[in-house]
Symmetry: D2
Subunit: 344 residues, 4 copies
């Protein structure tokens, strides 16, 4: 921690801060500059220390020099993590594609979707049974019945199932059906839920909150990893900015940035990240070029009549074309699109 | 709903959309303009409709014309809601001030705080027992013991207790001790939790998420109101923007804007909204001038040694001065700062 | 400057950076921490240094510890600057109110406006003759004729004139008529224009760009101050954020923050800052409570028929009520609303 | 234009608005809905109309239905514009790469840079002679001498020159040396400058301002196009958001979005868009995959000792690798990287 004193800080204020740093069990190192005095506090690890020092009299700023996340850090584990479950392999050079409708609506809809996305090369099926909706008056999902239909789709196609869990009370139920538990963007800092899925024994797809920093995302992952669950997939799904021509702004620099500091696999969600079907294929290809370990995409047999998110869903043909585009880019970069396992 | 067709949309596309609008049970009204055709869809109320129409071929944009929230709307209930519980009255011309430390740390700390904030004019005590922390390695609160200390502080001073609840499993426990249940910014769209506090029979202080729109905030309130709980206090606590000289950006126009569209009381949180003790007094006064129904402020006996948020906490003397400043502004505007009830 | 090395930086990399720091004429101070090495570079003043150090191998981050602005800094000039010109006094305890239409439209319109805002207590008249418009197809102002009408309004009322200058070619012309040259938000980083107005011998009202940081605003002021012009008034007019219920987000914490680091006076612009007439009065009052040295407000005889910005303009009666509200707040805080001088 | 009345708007208010719409020369079409009345104003084209209608009593919102830009619109000119000048061809399937140092520093530096970027496949040379710098104390460029050095580099390599012009007074001078005039992000809404470069007879590279909307960017282009200059290249260089791990947020969805609504070519600037050398190669490749017509990249012989922007510049080897990566992606998508013309 670096404590920068104010320009006119008194010697007493400097001494007080030195004592304070030492009282925290750290070694203080005073550097008297031409215009300001700076105190280096060596040995520190905790966020609390920063906060404690910041409120000292005469202090202008306190700058931490250690990243606060640990288990997720590449400095701790340099080799990339690969998450494998059923038909889905993701990370360490293998690209996974999770595709399917926003909401599970009916047996026919979900099974047709599973078959179509599998045929086009998807390696897992997504579909919402518990839907977090901004308005209490919107369709909230088929709940357990939706989970049963997802399981039926897995039986029919062999595709692993990725589905969202919204509350701690539902974790056991969802984990009985799903292969990967999804934490939605709104719940990225629902710490009780993070702890619960950390203990559920299933891989977790953790979506970035629309105004979460990289540090907050990695610390949210840390809540899960700390429960002993090493299988966390990070997902960039767009942030909230002043832009209005897209539903969110999809910042693809997230991908190489995270790649350099964490060993966890990273996927992007161009469907939510743009909010417009027409922008999805190009942003899917761009994600692969940016180095993403995979994609999560909304695909619906009939987007115009979808019960949710139709405006950002691909139909089967559009999904096929998107996969074709992504495959070309992946191959050009020497990467492998994971193929779904055949039904046994 | 207004459906704007693309410039070169064909007659077939227009006819298709008209059928679609009618299939949704709405009345379609076609307006052929100089450059584009527009279809007014009359009678619509649901978010799903917008989504369904947006994905139609030839459609350029769909614009809703009805606000999606209902129970919170001033169009439905024109008169302002006043929330009353114990020493706290807030709304309809009465200003409430909720003050106290970020975290409950010890019996002495919370009781001294309660006495000091009461003496300076606060009408409720805040204090965190369950703390949502960005890092799993930070202090997480004293949990039930913290609640017991808050109850002791209420016994000692008569101040109503406002404290956060983080998970559905804790709602019953927290509701046994608290007078007002606080939903933190990170949980503003934790719908399970909103439903749970909606049914807990206690007023709720709902903090705006740092990238939530007004519509999302009001729809989150709607989740609580829909459970039959009319006592919701909205709280503006700052949004995330590109600014870095403050922890968040505190947008006070929220106050008159919400005042005009909802009957619910609105308070601001200048402590989190700025993140710097030095900016809190002026922003508290500005909040009152903007028309806020009250404030929630972090106050600590010794901010420099606080276990959390010391850098944005007022000490007792600073709180007194802040209250003095706010009282002057309130009186100038003909408003009444609520006084805490004396201990019986 | 503090240079933070990467966790696994080699001794060679550290030595290289030490040499580099010394080659820049700075004193290097190496601090070996538990997990990382940090180098303090003492004596530095220039932005270039930071950039130069940042690209060194093994460097994780470089953190400046000195504010880059000088002449605008309160550390350099602790006493507040008061700007005085004709009827307008602003700063150091005196509140100035600049009011008038967005655009000068006709002699009758500007003279009626000047009389009305003066009667209600404004101390200067605003009005645009050169209008920067997002679209080339929008009304661009009456240009020199507009300036002549402003001068006529000054003759009629004694009010000082504040008007925008858009290009270097127009500086002399505008300076012949205006008392204060306004730099619009879009031109905050038009450095040629800043230099030109710095040399024009008239006070300058510098509007914050909608995504400018505090540092960028103060460095823009520095461009003007460096030309020998000490009379700069800073103006907060709202930033661009994800919010859509207001045209911009007006962050009032700017006011106390700037007050603490610069001696220059600070006004706010609640008209542009909110974009809605209905929100202007409360945000004007909140600005005064936050400590602003004044206001700039759009006022029009007939907002519904204004050629620009009618939706955010006050009519005469609304302006009177707003002034009344602000006067109450100012008096409560012991401040003086400046009164316009009578016509000689 | 669609005028949405308030829920409780009176018949008088509706009649008043109808008259007003008709007074503006538009046809009014009243639609009485279940809960609200809506007026369609047919025939409208101007921004002023929207503003005028918005301030009417009883009006809740006014929604424009026509895009305000014209000449830049693909609805007006469906076929893509290709800009050609000297060695640079950009647009309509041909990718151009503009590379070189942030600032021109010396003859040796710029000529070595030109040779290196040409060898690696760049089709134009960038380099700043007039530098807009946030601080007046930073290096401001070599000015005309810098332009002469750029011309020497063109003589030596045949590469077209892209360089920034900061003020109207410099347009003639810069146009004498440059092949493409660059408008920097800070000047995107410096309308005098846009008009001046519109008349200078050279292609213009127009950078998006860091908080400009798509509409504002296209209307800025419209200022140039309206002067009779059809050769405008749009450049996405990142927007300002809450993110701090990158200098700006580079929103690549800009590329397919603009592609669909304008015929102008679109390049991206991954150097400024990320602010970190390490993130540039992946974001360059992602830009090509997203459909960009080209790139503008900062390349320096010795980034560590660059006079500006070293932390985001590629060295020659990194640039070669980046080009290699981009070429693979371009070929996979069937696109052609333009090759620089040989020196005659």
């Amino acid at each position: 921690m670096i404590v920068v004193m104010e320009k006119h800080a008194t010697e007493e204020q400097v001494s007080h801060m030195v004592e304070k740093v030492e009282a925290l069990g750290l070694k203080a190192h005073v550097i008297v500059g031409a215009e300001r005095t700076v105190i280096a506090a060596i040995g520190d690890k905790r966020e609390e220390t920063k906060q404690s020092l910041e409120s000292g009299a005469g202090v202008s700023a306190v700058m931490p020099i250690l990243a606060p996340f640990k288990v997720a850090s590449r400095e701790v584990k340099p080799e990339p993590t690969q998450v494998k479950t059923g038909s889905l392999t993701i990370g360490d050079g293998v690209l996974g594609v999770i595709a399917g409708p926003c909401s599970v609506e009916s047996e026919e809809q979900i099974i047709r979707s599973a078959q179509a996305v599998k045929a086009a090369g998807a390696t897992a099926l997504r579909g919402g049974a518990f839907k977090p909706r901004t308005s209490p008056y919107s369709f909230q999902g088929l709940k357990e019945h939706g989970l049963q239909l997802l399981a039926a789709a897995r039986d029919a196609t062999g595709l692993a199932i990725v589905t969202e869990v919204m509350g701690t009370d539902d974790v056991d139920l969802v984990a009985r059906y799903a292969d990967v538990l999804q934490i939605g963007a709104r719940n990225m800092q629902n710490y009780r839920l993070l702890e619960a899925v950390g203990g559920a024994g299933k891989p977790v797809l953790l979506k970035r909150g629309p105004c979460a920093t990289m540090e907050e995302l990695l610390l949210a992952a840390e809540y899960i990893l700390n429960e002993g669950n090493p299988n966390v997939i990070l997902c960039e799904r767009g942030i909230r900015t002043f832009e209005t021509h897209t539903r969110f702004t999809l910042p693809l620099a997230t991908v190489p940035y995270l790649r350099q500091i964490t060993h966890l696999p990273i996927v992007t969600d161009p469907s939510h990240g743009t909010g417009h079907t027409r922008l999805v294929p190009d942003m899917a290809a761009a994600s692969i070029a940016a180095g993403a370990d995979g994609l999560i995409l909304e695909v619906h047999p009939d987007p115009e009549n979808a019960m949710s998110d139709g405006y950002q869903s691909l139909n089967f043909q559009q999904f096929e074309q998107t996969m074709e585009l992504c495959r070309k880019v992946a191959e050009a970069l020497g990467k492998k699109m994971g193929a779904a396992v055949p039904v046994a």
